[in-house]
């Protein structure tokens, strides 16, 4: 479904990614793990069009999307949940969800979709009329995830969704991602919580200093020595 | 390489400043009155911009109340000019302005961002309209006459106020309070949590900046001889310092000074050559600065210096 090939991305004059390649097949969950400044967010931002690669290509469902504007990429079916959720703080919870359905097709069905999101996140329903700025960190994360569902994406990219979440919420989060995947949505997951990320994924990539250093089936990677030492603290 | 060496030489900068100071002090002796008057106007803008930047620069609270502080000084001069000697009038002008700033500060400094900007502008306009109303309904006459003072004296007084403002700006900047003001601009909530009394610091710095504006207003009034609320509290005196500071760059002390000097000269040239277009040209220059020179002239100079040292 998603094919990233030999991507080089720069921040101004500084190179952040070197020849990064990865692929995500339809209906898969692929995890991308790595240290804090390894370039994971840079990669996601390049895929969804916020950053433009200096060289390399990004292909989605067979056609090139690198160079397209972010909103066109969203309309093609790619959703991005940024780190910390980044909700619209001056809007209410409900309004944030409505904004998720901005693409024309989604807008027609927004009422029923909001109800569906509430079924997954009943907590959001009870906070419906509240301003997003009054939500705590974890609540914002939930809101951002609900918002990402509104446009019925084919591929969702999560950037550190477990950041600052309570242990119970972390378990719920990964359960949620698995359920999402069961319903046919492809997932690209960037995570610090390596254990959970590898447990639910089909395949995984390890990014260090802007380069892919390891890749393969996540079950294999869980046994890998380097992973165990550097990321699982074992 | 030699150019760079000369500029980084320890004695170059103070030497240059001393030279400029001597030049400015002796100016009236060998130039035409027109030049002295022009210089006075330029120094007025420099004082406004520099004073404005003492507070608004580091804290990023963009004040549009400069016209209020300047205008108060003008009115003090008009009301007391006949009864008190000039130095006292100027000092009182500065002090009344300072007290007004303390008052406005207590009201508005609890507001953030846009609200502070608009509120300070509102207060300024309120004062202007109030005085207009008062003069129309109570005094019977709008406007006042001011005792005239010869242009050379006005020039020297302005020069002194400028020196004082520059010294104050320099001392604040170098002191721990300068650093604290910067931290307020960076993250006020964190600043207050490390023990900085932000309320008092903001209010006092705001008042300090108003003092020089008021003093400048008091002496400038004597040049205009006739003043009314429209002249004294002209909103342009609120906007121009901001634009000049953006143009000059806020990062360094010389930014507002440079920005005001060039802008004021530009205004002089443009009003004479293109009386109908000069505001338009101003606007275009400002847009160009915002798009291409976000750090103002200071940013440009810093980039040149860095490039020169590397290359």
């Amino acid at each position: 479904m998603l094919e990233v090939s030999q991507l080089d991305t720069f921040y101004g004059k500084t190179q952040a990614m070197w020849g990064v390649s990865l692929s995500v097949d339809e209906k898969q969950i692929v995890s991308l793990v790595g240290a804090n400044e390894a370039g994971k967010t840079t990669l996601l931002k390049t895929i969804c069009g916020i950053l433009r690669p200096a060289s390399g290509s990004v292909t989605f469902l067979g056609s090139r999307i690198d160079g397209l504007t972010p909103h066109s990429i969203v309309e093609l079916g790619v959703s991005y949940v940024p780190e910390g959720g980044k909700p619209f703080t001056e809007m209410t919870v409900r309004e944030n969800l409505e904004m998720g359905a901005y693409p024309y097709q989604a807008w027609q069905h927004r009422e029923e979709r909001i109800e569906q999101v509430y079924q997954v996140f009943p907590y959001l329903k009870s906070r419906e009329g509240q301003l997003a700025s009054t939500l705590s960190g974890g609540e914002r994360q939930m809101l951002a995830m609900g918002r990402s569902l509104m446009a019925r994406p084919k591929l969702i990219m999560f950037d550190e969704p477990s950041y600052g979440l309570a242990p119970l919420m972390v378990k719920e989060l990964f359960r949620f991602i698995t359920t999402l995947n069961d319903q046919g949505i492809t997932v690209l997951l960037v995570e610090q919580n390596v254990r959970h990320a590898l447990e639910i994924a089909d395949g995984a990539y390890v990014l260090e200093n802007g380069r892919i250093v390891l890749e393969g089936k996540s079950s294999d990677l869980l046994q890998n020595d380097h992973i165990k030492k550097a990321y699982l603290g074992l | 390489m030699d150019r760079v060496k000369v500029i980084s030489n320890r004695f170059f900068l103070p030497g240059l400043l001393l030279f400029i100071l001597i030049l400015l002090t002796t100016m009236p002796l060998f130039v035409q009155p027109y030049v002295v008057i022009l210089l006075t106007t330029i120094i007025m803008y420099i004082i406004l911009t520099l004073s404005w930047s003492i507070f608004s620069g580091p804290t990023r609270y963009i004040s549009l109340a400069s016209a209020a502080f300047f205008g108060v000084g003008v009115y003090v001069s008009a009301m007391l000019g006949q009864v008190l000697p000039l130095p006292v009038v100027i000092a009182v002008g500065g002090l009344v302005s300072l007290m007004l700033a303390l008052f406005i500060g207590l009201l508005t400094l609890r507001l953030r961002g846009m609200y502070f900007i608009i509120f300070t502008f509102g207060v300024s306009e309120l004062i202007r309209h109030f005085l207009l109303w008062w003069e129309t309904n109570f005094t019977g006459t709008v406007g006042r006459w001011v005792v005239a003072v010869d242009h050379t004296t006005v020039y020297y007084v302005m020069l002194i106020i400028f020196m004082m403002a520059l010294l104050a700006a320099y001392l604040v900047r170098r002191s721990k309070f300068g650093l604290a003001l910067q931290s307020i601009g960076e993250y006020e909530e964190a600043a207050v949590h490390i023990g900085i009394n932000v309320t008092i610091l903001k209010t006092l710095t705001f008042a300090l900046s108003a003092f020089f504006m008021g003093a400048a207003g008091a002496i400038m009034a004597t040049r205009w001889t006739y003043i009314d609320p429209q002249i004294a509290f002209n909103p342009l005196f609120s906007f121009m310092p901001v634009l000049m500071a953006i143009f000059g760059g806020i990062g360094q002390l010389y930014g507002p000074v440079l920005g005001a000097t060039i802008f004021a000269l530009l205004e002089e040239v443009l009003t004479t050559e293109f009386p109908y277009y000069y505001m338009l040209l101003f606007g275009i220059i400002l847009i160009a600065v915002i798009l291409f020179l976000p750090g103002g002239l200071v940013g440009l100079i810093q980039r040149w210096r860095r490039g020169g040292l590397e290359g």
């Binding site: 240290a35 804090n36 400044e37 509240q130 009054t134 939500l135 705590s136 960190g137 974890g138 609540e139 994360q141 939930m142 550190e160 950041y163 600052g164 979440l165 309570a166 242990p167 119970l168 919420m169 378990k171 719920e172 610090q192 550097a230 990321y231 699982l232 603290g233 | 721990k176 650093l179 604290a180 910067q182 931290s183 960076e186 993250y187 909530e189 964190a190 600043a191 207050v192 949590h193 490390i194 023990g195 900085i196 009394n197 932000v198 309320t199």
Partner: protein, 240 residues
């Protein structure tokens, strides 16, 4: 000795009750953990203690002195310092300047620039940031930014340090380093009250843990007691 005491502390935001009748006490020398689901009111409680928000009801006492509704700068000078969940550094200022300012303004005794400079450098050494002291705060890695927030708070010579999710976003190695830092802080004689989600850290470092849910305290006890508490498992930890 009882350092911090809270009695029926309450905070309402319009119709929403964020913190409701919460009692708590922190004794000198302890490391106390504060855990709870997202939105439980933990950071709000810290905001009430540090003076960032005024309490709607109840009382907070520090060394038997009423500090409810004092301004944050006054509370800081009394000896309570904090870090923030979302990093609030002076981004464009240098690492050294961030700490230096706190040394200058946050201490209750008279100090001068050279003392402050010395203390700042010692603190940067203590947290491990000496090498980057001239870097702008915004250019630091996440782990270093967290170190800087801690150093800045310590520069105000606190007796009580409030840490808000220090470990969020850190990888296992960095978490271990942070845990070690917290222990060293306690060894220096500073009492610690910390909000955390990283259970590993809480378990090994804390003497006591308080659990908040929907603004109400639902449990309190040793790490062992808390991890086996039914209610805590139900709302926070989940089955494992």
């Amino acid at each position: 000795m009882r350092l911090l005491e809270g009695e029926k502390v309450t905070k309402n935001f319009g119709g929403l009750t964020a913190v409701h009748n919460v009692d708590f006490d922190i004794n000198q020398g302890e490391i106390v953990g504060l855990i709870g689901p997202n939105g439980a009111g933990k950071t709000t409680l810290f905001n009430l203690i540090s003076g960032a928000l005024p309490a709607t009801g109840g009382e907070i006492r520090y060394k038997d002195e009423r500090i409810t509704s004092l301004k944050p700068n006054k509370i800081c000078k009394k000896g309570i310092a904090r870090t923030f969940q979302l990093i609030k550094l002076f981004a464009n200022m240098k690492v050294f300047e961030n700490v230096f300012l706190a040394s200058l303004f946050g201490v209750s005794t008279e100090t001068n620039k050279s003392n402050a400079k010395k203390e700042s450098e010692e603190l940067l050494e203590f947290v491990g940031l000496s090498a980057v002291k001239t870097t702008a705060a915004k250019d630091l890695t996440l782990a270093n930014q967290k170190r800087l927030e801690v150093a800045r708070a310590l520069a105000t010579r606190p007796e009580l340090l409030l840490l808000d999710e220090l470990m969020a976003g850190l990888n296992p190695t960095e978490v271990a380093q942070a845990m070690e830092l917290v222990t060293r802080i306690r060894d220096k004689g500073i009492t610690v009250f910390m909000i955390e989600h990283v259970m590993k850290a809480i378990m090994s470092v804390c003497n006591r843990i308080m659990v908040l849910d929907h603004g109400v305290k639902i449990a309190e006890g040793t790490p062992g007691e808390i991890t086996t508490n039914k209610k805590v498992i139900e709302v926070y930890l989940g089955e494992d």
